[in-house]
């Protein structure tokens, strides 16, 4: 399936990238999306990105909620006029028959408070299940998109469940020799859910958050937006872990999110400066 998507988008001019080697909550955090979405240059890319969402962990007991899963991400700047058709073509390429399945574009405006980003678009439903987030970015890091980029984020496990017609993510066949998704990830989900919710040392996490924030600022002072952005990603993930541990109150939550947003915006601003782009 991933290969089919790679082929499809590669034929349509995308560079095929590899996952970013950091923990992040969504493919949108990949610098190939966040930073490259900024500025006037044409940029078309596709890649897989593992995502970690500690609060979505269900100890392996929910058929389609995971604290670690895979997104397939496509970013096209400027957004092509036939983006919806291109997207539907990609579904056909991975075997979704639109004569049999009910594909719908349901309003879902996307916003990432921690990236200072928002866009309008839809969640794409296949028979009632959200399989893709489809967004026209309007702002990133607090900056207006000039021009607007289109972003497609496929939930790979969910699509695979459709194509293989299984009810439970852990029953997905991982290869043709009987290895399932559960064989590969079930124990991982159990242990990581326990760690995310119950074990992770909160003092260490708070300390990590502070250090990542400080390092981000250090990088910004030295005019290094890419390492600064990496530290912002680190702070964001650490914040997500603290959330899962339930040690951040409602009032504090806003403050922490604001802090991460400032770091991400700082990195985006430095990236714009470095490239000589006006806001």
């Amino acid at each position: 399936m991933i290969l089919a998507l790679h082929d499809y988008w590669s034929e349509r001019g995308c560079v095929i990238l590899q996952p970013y080697d950091m923990e992040m909550g969504a493919g949108t955090f990949h610098p190939a999306t966040t930073l490259r979405a900024l500025g006037p240059d044409t940029w078309n890319a596709a890649f897989v990105q593992p995502c970690r969402r500690p609060t979505d962990g269900r100890y392996g007991e929910n058929p389609n909620r995971l604290q670690h899963y895979y997104q397939y991400q496509v970013i096209l700047k400027p957004s092509p006029p036939d983006l919806q058709d291109l997207y539907l073509g990609s579904l056909a390429a991975i075997g979704v028959d639109t004569a049999l399945h009910d594909i719908r574009f349901v309003e879902d405006d996307w916003e990432s408070p921690t990236l200072g980003a928002w866009g309008l678009g839809w969640e794409v439903w296949c028979d009632g299940m959200e399989v893709t987030q489809f967004t026209y970015f309007q702002q990133m890091g607090g900056y207006d998109m000039k021009p607007v980029a289109g972003e497609l984020t496929y939930g790979l496990e969910r699509l695979a469940m459709y194509i293989q017609n299984v009810d439970n993510v852990y029953d997905l066949a991982f290869n043709d020799s009987g290895v399932t998704y559960g064989d590969v990830f079930l124990e991982n989900e159990r242990q990581m859910s326990t760690w995310n919710f119950e074990v992770a040392d909160t003092d260490t996490l708070f300390d990590l958050f502070r250090k990542a924030a400080a390092e981000c600022e250090n990088c910004l002072e030295r005019g290094l937006p890419i390492p600064a952005y990496e530290q912002a990603i680190k702070a964001s993930h650490t914040f997500n872990l603290l959330q899962a541990r339930g040690v951040i109150s409602v009032a504090e939550r806003q403050a922490y999110m604001g802090r991460v947003r400032d770091l991400a915006k700082g990195a985006c601003g430095a990236w714009m400066d470095k490239n000589g782009w006006a806001a």
Partner: protein, 770 residues
């Protein structure tokens, strides 16, 4: 009128959010009509349509061109100085020869020829598109390199604009108008050609697009019901869902599916909410009225397998959602609510008001107080207490409250039990805010707490109070009547209002961020519904006292000692103001509420409203209207003569001067106390007949009115006042107040003051309008 024809406009875009479509149709019709009116074109009926992918308008009977218009502008007189003429020529851009002279005045007459309607439309359409008020709009594509590029709700792709069969040429941001549009995204992906407004709906229908939203709604409504009936079930109707699904489909196909009956162990409200909010499914009930394990989803295609795959897919999604809900429910059930409640100490209620746990503590104590003070009795809400009936007499002090239980009331033990239950319920009431289920579905607050309380074996009255204590949420919402719920609900709202007032966070204008108006209306509704006989002042004092104590406990350096009682009057005024708004809908005159409230600050809402109703009935009678007129005349004379105003009075409950609960007669109302002030006993002259009659009438009416008020029999009080009407009229007809004799004048003014004051035993008539 010349030839007319119809106009069709279709704006085709990527999927328009369902919730925006109705408003978009209205906006399109409005903007279109305004553009035409600007050009002087009148049209016949305008119909608008919306689907996810198009917004369309058909206007009937447009003229092919606008009428020619002659405009005439008056200029200076021909005899005026040349500068005036020059100025006029400059203004109009004409030459002297082009002006017309008539009756010695210059006129500039310009003929505006008629315009082709097609030209008007070619200008109007881009104007409408650019001015369209979408709630949220976006830029897209290569043009968005500029932030000034065209904005639309989602990328705009096509424009069909046909006047009759003629294309109206329009170009907006590179999109050219044409005859072609697209059919259904999957059933008919190719272009279709529209001939005119007349074949638009039919051609789209042939291409699997039902463009009329009302037709789609009917299909969804009827088909969903029929599917449920075929399965032996009853659809839970939901017009909101009908509209939403119609906004998500161009070719709606309802399908019924089943989910695993095991999920029915999750509360039905949760299932229904999950199905509705997350998946936009209808749910069904069985013949016994219980939630069935069935759902109806609405697809946008006629699937090649009849929809089996779609139903199966939707079933899986719902199963995953319900599995998640059950995970939350089961997880929540394992944690006692007391333990959950401890986590409330981590949630800030308001920066200056502490945490939610602090609020819970205040509400719990206040709920207990409301019971201990006798404001809420074990019999509350059972219809045993009539308005103004049982309960504690007005203004009773804390100490003797228990002495005033009605003789046939429940034993004190019932009161103690009620206080315990109310405090217990209040301590658990907010605990569900930290449960997983409410975290996922905030609108289930209260409801889930009720389930969890029942599951951990709480008294059913406690569980009900936890469930219902947010009620009433708005006008028309159910008002609690169970005493335990009444105590918690009232305490919660009183605390919120008092707490925010005490940190100076009051509603202003349209701003009411903490919904204090809604809260105080809730308080008023609960009091009225349950005929709670108690002073608002007392209730607010209790709430402020709790806040004050809590603040002092939190922060010893607080200046709260400066006295919280200063907020009480503000709170009462706030409550009375909202009451006026609420009662206006029930036809109660706000000036009459003022008239009753102004007098001694009547703040027992039940009694206040009983009094207002009696007053409103009275001023509606001839006697009432005439008495009001006589009163106003008396009051005007007193005012003109600078007669000293009423001695200041304190409202009941202030300073505790009326501990016995009786209205204290005013000095100049007491027959003995009349003295030389005009009581009528020591007149230095022989009164005229009408004067003597009025004195006699007052002598009789005053004590009667006072007794009736004391007995809270306002009809009788009004009747007593009504006896004054004839004597007052006769007095004004035959007696001169402003007599040259100073003694007579003084005595008669004093008599008028007596009239005024007698009327004031019932209400401050000066506040009555008309």
């Amino acid at each position: 009128m010349g030839r007319v024809t119809d106009f069709l406009l279709e704006l085709r875009s990527e999927e328009i959010p369902a919730r925006m479509q109705d408003k978009a149709r209205e906006d399109l019709a409005r903007l279109f009509a305004a553009e035409l009116a600007k050009a002087g074109i009148t049209t016949g009926a305008i119909a608008t349509y919306a689907t996810p992918r198009r917004l369309a308008l058909i206007a009937r009977d447009l003229p092919l061109e606008t009428a020619a218009v002659t405009e005439e502008v008056k200029g200076p007189k021909t005899a005026a100085p040349p500068q005036a003429l020059e100025g006029f020529l400059r203004k109009t851009g004409l030459t002297r020869e082009q002006l017309t002279e008539r009756d010695g005045v210059f006129f500039a007459i310009t003929e505006k020829p008629g315009r082709a309607t097609a030209d008007v439309l070619a200008d109007a359409i881009p104007a409408i598109v650019r001015a369209f008020p979408w709630p949220k709009s976006m830029r897209w594509g290569a043009a968005s390199t500029s932030t000034e590029s065209l904005r639309w709700v989602r990328p705009l792709h096509g424009i069909v604009a046909l006047l009759g069969e003629e294309l109206v040429p329009v170009s907006i941001a590179g999109i050219e108008s044409g005859y072609a549009t697209l059919g259904h995204r999957f059933h008919h992906p190719g272009p279709i050609t529209i001939g005119s407004a007349d074949d638009y709906v039919a051609k789209l229908n042939a291409a699997h697009v039902i463009v009329d939203q009302d037709a789609r709604r009917t299909i969804i409504r009827d088909r969903a019901s029929a599917l449920a009936a075929e399965a032996g079930l009853v659809l839970v109707e939901d017009e909101g869902l009908v509209g939403e699904n119609a906004g998500l489909t161009e070719w709606p196909v309802p399908l019924l599916g089943r989910f695993d009956a095991e999920f029915l162990s999750v509360p039905p409200e949760v299932i229904q909410l999950t199905a509705r909010v997350n998946q936009k499914y209808f749910v069904c009930r069985d013949s016994g009225g219980a939630l069935a394990n069935a759902f109806v989803c609405t697809a946008n295609i006629e699937a090649s397998d009849g929809g089996a795959t779609i139903v199966e897919g939707n079933r899986k999604v719902l199963a995953a959602r319900l599995s998640d809900a059950r995970f939350f429910y089961d997880t929540d059930l394992k944690v006692p609510l007391e333990t959950q409640a401890e986590k409330l100490s981590k949630i800030v209620f308001h920066e200056k008001l502490g945490t939610v746990a602090d609020k819970v503590d205040r509400v719990a104590k206040l709920a207990r107080w409301l019971v201990e003070e006798g404001i809420i009795l074990p019999g509350t809400g059972r219809g045993t207490s009539e308005a103004g009936g049982g309960g504690v007499p007005h203004g009773a002090s804390l100490a003797d409250a228990s002495l005033h239980h009605p003789a046939d009331g429940p034993p004190p033990r019932a009161g103690e039990e009620l206080a315990d239950l109310a405090e217990r319920a209040a301590r658990l009431a907010k605990a569900d805010l930290v449960t997983g289920m409410v975290g996922e579905f905030p609108e289930l607050q209260g409801l889930m707490g009720g389930y969890y309380a029942a599951a951990q074996g709480e008294d059913p009255r406690v569980a009900a109070a936890v469930r219902d204590h947010y009620k009433p949420v708005g006008q028309g919402d159910e008002v609690p009547t169970d005493p335990v719920t009444v105590a918690v609900s009232l305490a919660d709202k009183l605390d919120t209002i008092a707490a925010f007032f005490s940190i100076n966070e009051k509603p202003t204008g349209s701003k009411d961020p903490f919904a204090l108006r809604r809260a105080v209306l809730g308080v008023a509704s609960i009091i009225q519904q349950n005929a709670l006989s108690a002073s608002l002042r007392k209730m607010f004092e209790l709430a402020l006292e709790q806040n004050h104590r809590a603040r002092r406990a939190r922060d010893v350096t607080t200046d709260a000692d400066a006295g919280y009682s200063r907020y009480v009057d503000e709170l009462i005024t706030f409550a009375i103001d909202r009451l006026k708004v609420q009662q206006r809908e029930a036809g109660v005159r706000h000036d009459l509420i003022d008239a009753v409230f102004a007098l001694g600050g009547e703040d027992d809402l039940v009694r206040l409203l009983a009094r207002v109703r009696a007053l409103q009935a009275f001023v509606g009678t001839e006697d009432g209207a005439n008495l009001l007129a006589g009163y106003k005349r008396a009051a005007n004379i007193l005012k003109k003569e600078g007669y000293s105003p009423l001695p200041p009075r304190e409202g009941p409950g202030v300073g505790g001067e009326s501990q016995d609960g009786s209205a204290k007669p005013l000095p100049n109302l007491s027959p003995e106390g009349g003295g030389d002030e005009g009581g009528g006993k020591t007149l230095s002259y022989t009164p005229e007949i009408a004067e003597a009659d009025l004195i006699a009438a007052l002598d009789a009416a005053e004590p009667a009115a006072a007794r009736a008020v004391e007995a809270e029999d306002f009809e009788a009080a009004m009747a007593a006042l009504a006896t004054l009407r004839g004597p007052i009229d006769a007095f004004f007809d035959s007696v001169t107040v402003n007599d040259p004799d100073a003694d007579k004048r003084a005595a008669r003014l004093a008599l008028l003051a007596r009239v005024r004051d007698a009327v004031h035993t019932v209400a401050d008539f000066s506040r009555i309008e008309g």
